[in-house]
């Protein structure tokens, strides 16, 4: 009874190649760890060095309005983008005919390819002036709602404009993701619904939306992750002040972390740049958490849905 274990003879080429591939794969983990570590190390002088004029009340008081601005702008963007993304995804997956739908898919993907600095330029020179009369109207007629209260900005460079620009920017990725999920709806469920005499909307309500719910949630989370980190469009469009303000039509808006870094960093000297890096670390932490939750939802869904 000879039990021969296939003791693998490994060729040199195989060993080298497999290791190269392995190190390339692991370098992803290493890179993320290094990003966190370097940002952390470079943040330290902000706390140990001489006091920084901009942050005389301490780091957390400095960063908090930016955290608020970051989250607030992203939430506005999400409120606008999510229903639109669902609409676009439904239109492409279930309403338009197939050839046309593919073309539309390309068009939406093109939105994703436009550089953010171009969005910024467009946002400030085209969108802001265009929206301003509507902002006036909202303030006059719906000013009793706190969000629309206050002195309306004359330039249109407000939180709401930023939210709309961000919404446009995250729309393609959200729509693409939701569309994928909708297209995975088991045909059998759809046909079963139609066979029961359902209209198209009833079929969507019965078969497509329940199936796509986690997909919509994770797409929203990913869109949130994107908009949290978006820099240039915000830096160019928003007229910022270091306050916390819920009103979305005024000219005193809480800046976002990313935009604040972009605006301050080129001029920053001494440990002010370390302070900005520390705020960057806060942003990194926030986006990582949001992204990890989103990816976790997606991977859980992939395990349970049985699709693919």
């Amino acid at each position: 009874m000879t039990a021969t274990k296939p003791k693998a003879i490994r060729r040199l080429g195989d060993v080298i190649f497999a290791n190269l591939a392995f190190f390339a794969g692991v370098s992803i983990l290493a890179t993320l760890a290094t990003v966190a570590a370097f940002l952390f190390v470079q943040s330290i002088p902000a706390f140990t060095g001489p006091e920084i004029a901009a942050a005389e009340d301490g780091f957390w008081n400095y960063v908090f309005p930016f955290v608020f601005g970051t989250v607030y702008a992203s939430i506005i963007a999400l409120i606008i983008a999510t229903p639109l993304a669902i609409g676009i995804a439904l239109y492409i997956s279930h309403f338009a005919n197939r050839r046309f739908a593919q073309l539309l898919g390309y068009a939406v993907d093109l939105l994703a390819a436009i550089p953010s600095v171009v969005y910024g330029l467009w946002g400030i020179l085209v969108l802001a002036p265009f929206l301003n009369p509507t902002f006036m109207w909202l303030n006059e007629n719906l000013g009793w709602i706190p969000f629309f209260a206050g002195q309306v900005s004359a330039t249109g460079r407000t939180m709401l404009t930023v939210g709309i620009v961000l919404a446009i920017m995250v729309l393609p990725i959200m729509a693409a993701l939701i569309r994928e999920v909708f297209l995975q709806t088991p045909r059998l469920h759809e046909e079963a619904a139609l066979a029961l005499g359902a209209t198209r909307w009833e079929m969507i309500k019965m078969a497509v939306l329940p199936f796509g719910r986690t997909g919509i949630i994770s797409a929203a989370m990913l869109g949130l992750g994107r908009s949290l980190g978006e820099t240039m469009a915000v830096a160019m469009v928003l007229s910022p002040t270091a306050v916390i303000n819920f009103a979305v039509l005024t000219s005193s808006n809480s800046n976002t972390i990313a935009a604040n870094i972009a605006l301050q960093f080129p001029e920053a000297g001494g440990n002010y740049s370390n302070l900005l890096i520390a705020t960057g670390l806060v942003l990194f932490a926030i986006t990582m958490v949001v992204n990890m939750i989103a990816r976790w939802i997606i991977s859980r869904r992939a395990e349970f849905s049985g699709a693919n």
């Binding site: 992803i28 639109l84 600095v117 009833e202 820099t231």
Partner: protein, 354 residues
């Protein structure tokens, strides 16, 4: 009896096909006329398109719903309403795309001339000047980023598809996805934090920009390559193994060539994705008005940063700065479009058939 059967198939009466588009047209015309009248009655003569769209759409939706509910019944009316909403959502998304394309082309054309592509901004205060230094910088920095990202990205994808098993592979897969969500400005700060160690505070260097872009580009390359490697049929790998070809040669000479067109497409798209990045380059590559061919020393201008600084730091002759910003934006958009187009053409014409 027969008449009953027929009627049960037909259900309620349907609205004729022309009703819906006719109503759409009517309501938008009406809304437009109303706004024109309102605009002329007040002092501000400017026509605001937002109320035109809002009143037109809401009026159309409400009216068609009511009519459909009366003629066709509640279920069909709801179906019609949803169709209107979904189509409206889609049209709404296309408006910014069209507006962007239109304004960028229209405003960019003013300075989209020979001088723009042959001069830097050295010693320019008002009119004239160009973005050659920025274009060179963008090409060099993106080129280096591509040289760094493509080998690492492809090898990492090979690891995930051909070798990866167990916990580490799952971790890598997960964090590649997470890495796609790293904010671009954080990548810039990372490159800065890395270079400060070697060159001291305040460092600005083209290479740093390339590093930052690589952080953003690698996960995109990995995802694209991974997808392409996964669709290479396993039968081809087995055919090669059965001929006594070792695994590494199978990957290099069978799997990669079969997936090549798809990988090239993915690389093109990932380049298009990072070539427009502004924030990280603003941080680590900085900005300058002069030509700098050396990515290993000193500030280096790039096209997106050129667009930003032209707009943000307007000099005395404001219009010429804004014009240059738009021309830069147009150039950038064209580069991105061309890259996307090339990507599509590659995948269309070079994928192996069968």
């Amino acid at each position: 009896m027969t008449s009953q059967v027929t009627s049960s198939f037909q259900g309620t009466a349907d609205l004729p096909k022309w009703v819906s588009p006719a109503m759409l047209l009517a309501f938008f015309m009406g809304s437009f006329t109303l706004q024109v009248m309102l605009a002329s009655s007040t002092e501000q003569n400017e026509l605001n398109l937002i109320p035109v769209a809002v009143f037109g759409l809401v009026g159309y939706a409400v009216a068609l719903y009511a009519l459909s509910r009366f003629v066709e019944g509640r279920r069909k009316a709801t179906d019609r309403l949803v169709t209107i909403l979904v189509t409206a959502a889609f049209s709404l998304a296309l408006i910014p795309l069209l507006s962007l394309a239109y304004t960028v082309v229209q405003n960019g054309a003013a300075r989209f001339d020979a001088e723009f592509f042959t001069f830097s901004m050295r010693n320019i205060v008002g009119e004239g000047g160009g973005a050659l230094h920025a274009i060179i910088g963008t090409l060099e920095i993106t080129g280096i980023a591509t040289l760094i990202s493509v080998p690492i990205g492809i090898m990492a994808a090979i690891y995930l598809v051909e070798y990866g098993r167990g916990t580490i592979a799952r971790l890598v897969t997960f964090f590649v996805d997470v890495m796609t969500g790293v904010p671009s400005i954080v990548a810039g700060l990372f490159a800065y934090a890395l270079f400060v160690i070697f060159f001291g505070p305040g460092v600005r260097m083209g290479l740093g920009g390339a590093i930052a872009l690589s952080v953003l580009m690698i996960p995109v390359v990995i995802r694209a390559t991974e997808e392409m490697l996964k669709i290479v049929p396993n039968e081809l790998r087995e055919a090669a193994y059965a001929l006594g070809v070792p695994k590494w040669l199978t990957v290099i000479k069978v799997v990669l060539p079969t997936a090549l067109a798809g990988i090239a497409t993915g690389v093109m798209i990932s380049i298009a994705r990072v070539i427009g990045e502004t924030a990280p380059l603003l941080i680590i590559a900085g900005f300058t008005a002069s030509m700098n061919y050396n990515p290993f020393d000193e500030r280096m201008m790039t096209l997106p940063v050129f667009v930003y600084t032209s707009y943000a730091n307007q000099g005395v002759d404001m219009q010429s700065y804004v014009d240059r910003a738009w021309a830069g934006a147009l150039t950038l958009m064209l580069i991105v479009m061309v890259l996307n187009l090339v990507a599509r053409l590659i995948s269309k014409y070079f994928s192996p058939k069968g």
